[in-house]
Amino acid sequence: MMLTATAVALLCIQSLFVAAMLTGIYSLLSAALFVLLDAVDVAFTEAAVGAGITTVLFLGMLARIPSRPEQYRKLHLRVGPMLAVLITGAALIYATHDMPAFGDPKAPANVHVAPRYINDSAREVGPPNIVTSVLASYRGYDTLGEVTVIFTAGVGVLLLLGHRRRREDRDAP
C-alpha cells in the first residue's frame, strides 16, 4: 500500500529533487516488501543497489544539470496516455483471472525446476543459501552476462561523460 502511495506521489510531484528522493523511498519500500515475500537476497540487493546507488546517480545527474524554471512547470493530466494506460491496465487485470493464486505451492512456477534446486543444491554445489548456489553454479552464464552488461554500461558512461573533460583539457592551454 505504501509502495503504491509513493508511486502515486511520484505522479504528482513537481520538483525533480523530491522525485529523486521519492524514487529512493520507493526502492526501499519495495525492498521491505521483498523481505515479507521471503526474498532476502533480493531485498538487500534492492536496498543497496536500487535505493542506494540509483539515488546517488540521480543526485549526480541533477548536480550536473542547472535548475531551470521549466522543470517546475505545472504538470497537467494528458488524456491520450491516460486512456492508453487505463485500457492496458484493464486488459491486464482481466488476464490475471487465469494466473495461479498468490502463494500456491502447486503453481507451475514452483513445481518445475525449483524442487531440484531445493533438494539437490546442498549436495551438488554446497552452500546452504540456495540463491547463491543457483546464481554462481546452475545459472552462472546469467551472471557472466550480467557482468558484461555492467562493463558495457560503464564504458558507455565513460565515453559519454569523459568526452567533455578531454575537450576542456585540450582547449585550456
Partner: protein
C-alpha cells in the same frame, strides 16, 4: 475471499501502469527515467510474488524447515536489479550529455531545436 487471491498481480499492474503513464506523459527526460524505474520495480515484485509460497521460509537450507520459497525468481531478479541500475546510469549519462548539447532536458524543446536547424 476467492476473488482476492490475485491481489498481488493487481498491485503490480497498478504500479506498472503508473510507470507506463510517467514514461508516456512526461516530457522532462529524468521523469521518464523515474517512470522506467517504477515499471522495472513492478516487474521485480511480479516475479518475486510468483515465487512466494504460503508458510514458506527464505530459501536458505536449515534444519526443520520443509517449505522454501522458490529460489529461481530470486536469482533472476538479482540479475535484473543490477542490469537495471546499469541501464539507468547509462540513461542518466545520456541526459547529462543531451543537456550539454541542447541546453535543455525537455523533450518538446529538443524537437523544436531539431526542427529549427
Amino acid at each position: 475471499m476467492s476473488w482476492l487471491v490475485h491481489y498481488n498481480y493487481w498491485i503490480v499492474i497498478v504500479l506498472m501502469m503508473i510507470g507506463l503513464y510517467l514514461v508516456m506523459a512526461r516530457h522532462i527526460l529524468p521523469r521518464k527515467i523515474i517512470g522506467l524505474n517504477v515499471f522495472q520495480t513492478s516487474v521485480f515484485v511480479l516475479f518475486i510474488s510468483m515465487g512466494a509460497v504460503n508458510d514458506a521460509s527464505a530459501p536458505i537450507l536449515a534444519e526443520g524447515i520443509t517449505q522454501y520459497a522458490n529460489p529461481l525468481p530470486h536469482v533472476l531478479i538479482l540479475t535484473a536489479i543490477v542490469v537495471g541500475v546499469s541501464t539507468t546510469s547509462l540513461a542518466l549519462a545520456l541526459i547529462v550529455r543531451i543537456n550539454e548539447a541542447y541546453g535543455t532536458i525537455d523533450e518538446e524543446r529538443i524537437h523544436q531545436i531539431d526542427e529549427e536547424d
